[in-house]
Symmetry: C2
Subunit: 488 residues, 2 copies
């Protein structure tokens, strides 16, 4: 199996694709830029969904569903919004055999269709807040696509909330960013930097965009989720006014926030290795696979032993599976299940049976432990927790090792390499997160991007105190501390 996976050092992009195709997480489709999510990939999405949905409901949100088609005229009501999304639209011009009076686009995001309805539902402060979320497919016609990370159609959730005051809407924006941060770290083992986007990088139609940014193994940044404070922009565009507690009419304040199937790509890229997929136990379809090592004369006894262990593992809530297929060798199975990312392997043979023991092997470290059958289930649970913790720590250490303060433009060029260079080979070796002071000018961002392809990923929320010094890009007095990186 492992030989099907191109090593990262040879071709990082191919390594990523090889893992997805061989672990049967997703596949290409006959529709340009669209993928098929296969059952083993979809099972990961279901676990991400379940965790997020639970947290959304705990924070008072309800799910709803809005039409996937949006009249083109709606998109045009918010000027920045249409400018941002127009180039990426899929357009429906015919329905039921006839040309439509007004074309529809397939939703690239749903602010416009949702705010058109909020106008009907919001009259007074008593109708607020509206805390709605939608699980849906969306479509953005991307030229360059990559499985999970960037596809024309993708699955996501989009929260759309309406509030009485600016303060409430801002608090909601931060609350949901924190939900994303904690799910990313606790559930997906993705350490993330929470920060604010620059004006250049913010969502089309937002007042401010907050983001969580993760670092992949090639040291590029990946935007893993965003939470937008929309101010009164959409309320004004769709004329959504409410009678406030003083009896006066005022425009409603809004947020929106989303994460997508892109998170699956982030998980794959962050944890996997040259043997294949590595998954956090929280997301793995199977958390443990038992591989029996059998010879003809002991087969029945070893399988009975394995069955007993399987029952005990299930009894303590471990998602365990016994691979009793006798057409494949244990060695083939080891490699196959490693490639598929099962966090723990249990090996049981005749000698283990005699000794009342079994072998546990960690996918993340390769560590082997011989444990007594009596404590095997408890030990497996303990190891799964340890793996969950280790994956997060390992990724955090990697990010910290590749987060570097950079003082000036020359430093940036040295850190990232130049945009024009052929970086195919060296790409994985260069770069990381460059941390620097910034004056706030979009011109500086553009210069850096042109020279190095790096962009301003965010201004970390917890690093904005005591800004003294000069912009690392132009030397003018700085206003913010920012993280720059190449990105997905």
């Amino acid at each position: 199996m492992a030989d099907k996976i191109t090593p990262r050092s040879v071709d990082y992009s191919q390594w990523y694709i090889d893992i997805i195709l061989n672990a049967k997480l997703a596949d290409y489709s006959p529709v340009k830029g669209c993928m098929v999510i296969r059952p083993r990939g979809y099972a990961i999405w279901e676990r991400i969904q379940a965790e997020l949905d639970k947290r959304f409901k705990e924070t008072g949100h309800e799910n709803a569903y809005f039409p996937m088609l949006i009249p083109m005229s709606f998109l045009k009501k918010e000027a920045e919004h249409v400018e941002g999304f127009a180039p990426e639209l899929a357009v429906v011009t015919h329905g039921g055999g006839e040309e439509l009076d007004e074309p529809y686009c397939i939703r690239p995001t749903s602010e416009t269709i949702i705010w058109a309805k909020y106008k009907d539902w919001i009259q007074s402060w008593r109708d607020l807040p509206l805390l709605y979320n939608q699980w849906a497919n969306v479509m953005r016609w991307e030229k360059r696509t990559r499985l999970f990370l960037r596809t024309a159609e993708f699955l996501w959730q989009e929260g759309h909330t309406a509030h009485e005051t600016r303060e409430e809407a801002e608090a909601e924006t931060m609350r949901m960013l924190e939900v994303y941060r904690s799910v990313a770290e606790q559930h997906l083992c993705l350490p993330v930097v929470a920060g604010v986007k620059s004006e250049t990088e913010k969502f089309a139609g937002a007042v401010r965009t907050y983001t969580i940014e993760a670092m992949m193994q090639d040291k590029k940044a990946l935007q893993a989720g965003t939470s937008h404070f929309l101010g009164q922009n959409f309320a004004k565009a769709f004329d959504v006014q409410y009678q406030n507690r003083e009896g006066k009419l005022d425009h409603v304040w809004a947020t929106s926030w989303g994460v997508s199937t892109r998170l699956i790509g982030a998980v794959i890229m962050t944890h996997s290795d040259d043997k294949g997929l590595v998954l956090p136990p929280s997301l793995a379809p199977e958390q443990l696979v038992i591989v029996p090592i059998v010879k003809k004369d002991t087969q029945a006894a070893v399988l009975a032993y394995a069955d007993k262990l399987l029952a005990e593992l299930k009894g303590v809530g471990v998602r365990a599976k016994l691979d009793a297929d006798d057409s494949a060798s244990p060695g083939w199975k080891f490699a196959e299940w490693e490639m598929r990312g099962v966090p723990l392997r249990m090996e049981v043979g005749a000698r283990d049976l005699e000794a009342g023991k079994c072998v546990l092997v960690r996918r993340d470290t390769g560590e082997k432990l011989v444990v007594s059958a009596l404590e095997a289930a408890a030990k497996a649970r303990e190891l799964l927790d340890a793996i969950q913790q280790n994956l997060l720590e390992k990724a955090r250490s990697f990010r910290e090792a590749h987060t570097v303060p950079v003082a000036d433009f020359e430093g940036m060029k040295a850190f990232f390499g130049l945009a024009g260079e052929d970086l195919a080979g060296a790409e994985a070796a260069k770069g990381g997160f460059a941390e620097g002071l910034w004056c706030g000018s979009a011109t500086c961002e553009a210069s850096l991007k042109q020279a190095t392809k790096a962009t301003l990923r965010c201004m970390p929320l917890d690093r904005q105190d005591d800004i003294h010094g000069n912009c690392c890009l132009c030397g003018a007095p700085a206003k913010h501390r920012a993280i720059f990186a190449r990105n997905y």
Copy 2:
């Protein structure tokens, strides 16, 4: 509240719409034929989904996700399929600002895009069976739409399975029909007739279509779910062959099966009354609402008492809610929660507190019970089970009372009334399920439809023995027993 709901006797269609809009289950949208599913409607869908998804997984199925766009050429590969769906397609002609080389349609159903991928994934009998399900939105450009029952876009699940043999595929078709039947009856309290469709009414591309048919309160039939045996039609259209156990190439056998958000409409129409929505406890967002009856001097004590009862109800797993809003009267709340379909109401006032009692009121029968606070939670659970049972039985009795054997064409005309008659007023009073013998001829079906608008809903699976006699439509020797009805 109740006065917002048009009585069934005045206008049955308006009654249905009034309930949906007033109970905030769904709303119209600015997109032609598409609805918005509001949180209280979506919560019902989530419970239907959860139950179905559990049963699909218990029967060995996995979820996957395929592109929502389908190349138009794919649809044309199965002749009956394209003929059936072509008139209802929404067509995407432009993407990313450019006209597409080949237009895509938005999936009306996914057989074609899925079988195009099955060709890549199936080589040998070892790859079979594939037991996949997809939760998705689909689009069929309908001219006449009705909230939940028929909308251009709707949410559904579609199972698509591939098998080695005809027998296996036929068994799968029946297995999933049985899953639908039991979820409809146990979970949605919808008694259904399970049967086979005629050639005229079967799915475009199927060899045989099985259906579950429910009767609404206006005695029309509603097709609540279908399971299709597709034979080798799609395998041949997409050239999906596998090496069988004898080493020979053979086409794969297929099934597909689906239910949709239409089920929500069926639940509303089957159980509700002139006061508003009636919901099975299994689907109700709140199963019980506590309405405190307070006066100034006893307010604190009564609310504390209500809180204690609320905690006990939640403790035994009842989804309970306390309506402590003091801006509305108890009477207003009674009507409001009845309109919203909460199965049980608990009333607590100062006298109840003194006596250590409370009042429970059933939504389905209006029955009032005074119970001791000590046994209130247990009694509530018991009543919820009784309501669940009663709704099913009541609907079954209604259907049985309106299922009538009909011997000849004149009888059919008398039973259904004539197609040309103005049935606006009498519509709800006429018809039902006419059970009759049938010769198997599509001409007979067409004659009946033209004369009365009634169609052949299905040939009930458990009523096909001992067919002796003549077709109730033409008098020729009969081959089947069938149910005829007007339908949604």
